[in-house]
Symmetry: C2
Subunit: 334 residues, 2 copies
Amino acid sequence: MSATIKDVAKLAGVSVATVSRVLNDLPGYSEETRIRVMNAVAELRYQPNAIARGLVNKRTQTIGVLFPSVSSAFSSEILHGIEEAAQEQGYSVVVCNTAEDGKRTKKYLQVLREKQVDGIIYSSGVLKEEYHQTLQAMAIPVVLVATKSEYADIPYVKVDDHQAAYDACAYLIRRGHRRIAMIGGPAHDVIAGEPRIAGFRAALADHGLPPDEAPVLDGRFIFAGGCEAAEELLRQAPEVTAVFAAGDEMAIGVISTAARLGIAVPAQLSVIGYDNLKLAEMCYPPLTTVAQPLAEMGRLAAAKLIARIETGQPEASEILPHQVMERGTVSTRE
Amino acid sequence: MSATIKDVAKLAGVSVATVSRVLNDLPGYSEETRIRVMNAVAELRYQPNAIARGLVNKRTQTIGVLFPSVSSAFSSEILHGIEEAAQEQGYSVVVCNTAEDGKRTKKYLQVLREKQVDGIIYSSGVLKEEYHQTLQAMAIPVVLVATKSEYADIPYVKVDDHQAAYDACAYLIRRGHRRIAMIGGPAHDVIAGEPRIAGFRAALADHGLPPDEAPVLDGRFIFAGGCEAAEELLRQAPEVTAVFAAGDEMAIGVISTAARLGIAVPAQLSVIGYDNLKLAEMCYPPLTTVAQPLAEMGRLAAAKLIARIETGQPEASEILPHQVMERGTVSTRE
DNA sequence: CTGAAAGCGCTTACAG
DNA sequence: CTGAAAGCGCTTACAG
């Protein structure tokens, strides 16, 4: 078995209290004892037991992160940012894939509670009232990333979806496009669906284009959905010269579909995406898209959570800047 | 504060030992007490404290996973499989991004030890002697995924890299290609570099093609590297009709570069990748590639680790089948 | 069937 | 500057 604090105390000829003090940099021992203790630690290759420590401190130095899907490029970039910030601050992160399933989510929340995590990050998706209640019962800090909620006690970090969609559409208009379509998420999705559609329409209206005539299809935020929607769009509204796809995977779907149908991008059809996944630079032509700083969002969410854990002070929500990344899929029209 | 086992014992009018028994489904109490206890549990919304339990059981029901990069598509698919299997068996997974940095890796190993994880999965990359030693000192089960090692006590689950590369090359030959190049990883990479290059050359040789004349470039397994290598290749060996890129990101780089240079894929240049990331289906034409069952590898690695943890029996290594996925980037030559 | 008690490996008043 | 002791929330022989 591994050495315990008792073993080092015995070897150093001091009490465990003293060992604990030097290990935790607390005051109260002579330089000589410090050295004796450190020698014993080294000799026994002693490593503290974080579980025992956690039991008395009521702190585990670990946070839980809930994703609707861990394998998506979107989630992995956020996770990357979270992991980075957490590790810098000495926290571990346990990943939970809810698969957008209520039962799994509840199950995970329970596990996280039993494991006494110090805080939770909830990513992309609606924080249901039900979850909020159990979170409240757990009485631990929570922060939202790439989503938001009405609950005042839960800060979020995200981009302004309405404005980002507005800017994507305005960009297309500025480049001379007039017949613009959108492929977005489900209209009833209050986080990433509705606001982007509204932003898109607002941009149209502000530029004197009839917002209700523009086709808006649902691509479910996935590649296949983008392909299907593009196919339908191209059939029903061939006059469209540009499409705003509210997710890069869908945008790539549009590009693939156009290529398959012999429609040149951007010469015949312009496409602007949303997210700026690594994917966006890997297609040809490289995808013009409105960037969300995903890793940064993850980092900031983790930083806020940890600050909340350690200071107890409430943290403010934050809207991070988005940015249209001009690449190769939008052409200029006269 | 949350209720503890003492609270429920008091409310149920029994001892904590009895509460513990019913909670853990151990024998030794009447139906009546069981009900009294369960009622108290419900009334107090009692949740056991896994940290306290872990301290006495010496089991935390959590495993650590080390990745060289958490945000890569490759790692996320493996992670997805691991998370799934782990969650089914009641284990949590903490993710560690080593960033291929020795110091971070050592740091993480130490943290995982202090947090008393029950086992560790080490993904893709060489398990250095140094790591092996600290792992040995920790005395906990380890399994390797998408990599392997010489250490008999550490099982691995991966694909046969040599054979997979061989099959990719043989596929190209079968489709009529004779002037074939490879874009692989660093030749000194014993896991994913050298074996694939050797497999590629073996296939050439077995089919009567001079293996040493075929260009083999290093694309560092990344998109940019694939682009650079493709550019150099196309300049230096324009006679090449097909390239085997030993990683999908690199393959996509080849396709992008070809498109940029006006070289038609697959009409003028055929490309076969390696991995079968989700990416592979998202480009146009969709990428022909040799598939590794990444999620399955993750699942199996987790299953082996957990079996090892729970039974104490050693687990065998496993080579999973690969498969060439015929899609749209390889043409047939006469 | 049930409970008192020891113990898991730490931290932290408290007393000196 | 230092140690004895209590306690964190559980589990598990042991005794009855």
